[in-house]
Symmetry: C2
Subunit: 402 residues, 2 copies
């Protein structure tokens, strides 16, 4: 008998048929003797519909009321799923966040889960399946809140932690985490086990399987996760603590991002505070700066700073740099057709030659490296966008992921 | 300064434009110095959409979860209206039933409002407009309930009573209560003032302006009502205690129902318990029996019993009568093309000759009366359906309602 938190995303509950299918998944779990808490998202498309209503009234729709509005999406799914279970003769009840309660702190539309009363749910699990709407909570003064980053994934992980569940399973429309994008690289393989750190790197590099902040929470509290498909019976990907994984391969996955642009400022004064002066106004303008690389220039008193941004932000970024009175530089150059290709693997740090093999592989394909950035478990290069898939395929092969 | 409960029905809040229009109505009330509690229905069509979802899962969808599901309809409208008021710089908050709370008793989907905590709302009315979802409440154990009969009208009237409001205004898609159906009888006139009793008779006779049980509650607690249009500025119809109305006319309105059928059992044994034996199985089969008339037959030991039902129920009713072993009768006859035409007026009782004038008027039009039923403030006749509009027009004229 295990206590399991199962989370079902928007596409998994996107129609009545799918909700009934989810009810059958839960029924099997109950029949296997497990205690189930299901955390559900709004039916696919419903949250956007509600946001459109609010936007038609006011582009800056009142945030307290936006939370009241949006929370209905998950409430609808919760009641339909509970009713579908009752129809299958499985005892079940929806538990709205204020009925538990799940307490949050922080501002409307961007709250964080603080705590929950576990006694009522634990009591109820002795007799039935508890369905909990994800992505929301109640503030100390009894207002409905929604949680910003992480959404329903974060709710599932937080509940798993607070209820001391054995496992947290994220049911979604893909059947796990892949070594690279299976839609583009057919030899991509599903990863059976991955560490929290690697999952975080892959998430932030564009693998949209799970929300990063939920992975962070799971890592912090050492909650075993499993990502699996609602639509197949195949095994998913288990996400563990690094120490529990036996790394046979140095590299776990290859990720890539597109639509990037690269900007280089040459001849920048080499003195403290220069980087802050460059990036502060970009941050204020909500331009997301990704990789930053600084090299010493040939001239000993100046340096070159390169960074990447989304291509859409290129002209705005250049304007801000040109208007910036606090920085001195020789020239701004840019390349608006670049991509970032990364290898990720917790085993990299203990495997000699990974860096060399990556560079050698790209050289064999005559792919020029425009910039390099490394971390403990990740190695990213910026290359011309036209070479993206060629690079991903090559790296996938040389690190034996095919 | 008045404390007003304003209720807006489904068509009044049926789109974003209409919700913004309602926000402007409320804004005018606030600027006139009034304290406003707005009770809202779900946007037109939304409740049916949610019911369809539940029916697709289970024809007998779990009632507790149905209440959780349906309550989201009014919650959506409440948050959108509160946000629309904030956008007009009017301070406003949605108050969900559990946040107040509004306590109910009775079973799911058919609960009754028992009480509410008035202190929080009264406190909030000092600073802003309170928006309350209609048609729902919370049970003593903290479950969401919906109230059966009366819906959002009943919520508005109950809140008006519990908050000791000065008035309760029902905004709807017609601009008041008419002397008869204005769509069919163009000379129909809007009634300026009407008593609770008359309104109840007209409601039960098919005028769908307000839900009967809400009128009953208002009558019981003497809460002044006003029915008015969301879409025009015209005065509506005020619904008062009878004693406060000066009756210049004996008859207030003419109502009619269509699609009726009439059944007569002749030669029924005239002994106690016969009527019960006839109607009990019909009640069990959920056949709604409307008028019942019993005459002594020419044969002194037997009687004739006539009653009306909806035409759709005719064959089922005849089958049940034929299968009924507990009744003895000579013959079953029926007429499946009849209608009921009624005159309603609190002044009837004190005006001699109303009955005679009605019968004379119908005779002048050569309309045969098939059955008659009277109450304190109502006189109904069954006639052949083809004569319905002719009868209504004639009665409208002779009682000076044109």
């Amino acid at each position: 008998m295990k206590k399991k938190v199962l989370k079902f995303g928007g596409t998994s509950v996107g129609s009545i048929d799918r909700i009934q299918h989810v009810a059958n998944i839960i029924k099997s779990e109950v029949e296997a003797g497990n205690k189930i808490i299901a955390v559900v998202s709004a039916m696919a498309g419903k949250t956007n519909e509600l946001i459109e209503y609010s936007q038609a009234i006011d582009k800056n729709f009142d945030k307290r009321e936006l939370d009241v509005l949006l929370s209905t999406g998950e409430q609808v799914t919760s009641s339909l799923l509970a009713g579908a279970l009752v129809n299958l003769n499985i005892k079940s009840k929806s538990w709205l966040n204020w009925q538990i309660p799940i307490l949050t702190e922080g501002e409307h539309t961007n709250a964080r889960i603080l705590n929950m009363n576990v006694s009522k749910i634990n009591q109820y699990l002795k007799e039935g399946v508890a369905i909990v709407p994800g992505f929301q909570g109640v503030s100390k003064i009894g207002d409905i809140t929604t949680i910003g980053r992480g959404g329903s994934d974060a709710t599932a992980v937080a509940i798993a932690k607070l209820l001391n569940a054995d496992t947290c399973e994220i049911y979604t429309d893909v059947d796990g985490v892949y070594s690279t994008d299976p839609n583009k690289i057919p030899v991509a393989k599903k990863i059976e086990k991955i560490s929290y750190d690697e999952m975080l790197e892959l998430s932030s590099l564009g693998a949209k399987v799970m929300q990063s902040s939920a992975v962070q929470t799971a890592m912090m509290y050492d909650i075993p996760l499993e990502v699996r498909s609602t639509f197949t019976n195949r095994k998913g990907t288990k996400i563990f603590d690094q120490q529990e994984i036996d790394y046979s391969k140095s590299v776990t996955g290859v990720a890539y991002s597109k639509d990037d642009a690269k900007i280089t400022l040459t001849g920048v004064e080499d003195k403290p505070g220069v980087a802050a002066n460059i990036f502060e106004p970009l941050n204020k303008a909500q331009i997301n700066v990704d990789m930053v690389i600084q090299n010493i220039s040939s001239d000993q008193n100046t340096t070159d700073i390169t960074f990447t941004i989304k291509r859409d932000d290129l002209s705005k970024t250049k304007d801000i740099l040109k208007d910036n009175q606090n920085i001195v530089y020789k020239e701004i150059t840019h390349n608006d057709k670049v991509s970032k290709v990364s290898i990720v693997g917790a085993g990299m740090v203990s495997t000699p030659g990974v860096t060399y093999r990556m560079f050698r592989g790209l050289a064999d394909e005559k792919i020029n490296i425009l910039a390099i950035s490394t971390s403990e478990i990740k190695l990213s290069v910026i290359i011309n966008e036209e070479n993206t898939l060629k690079a991903v395929k090559k790296l996938h092969t040389i690190f034996e992921l095919d």
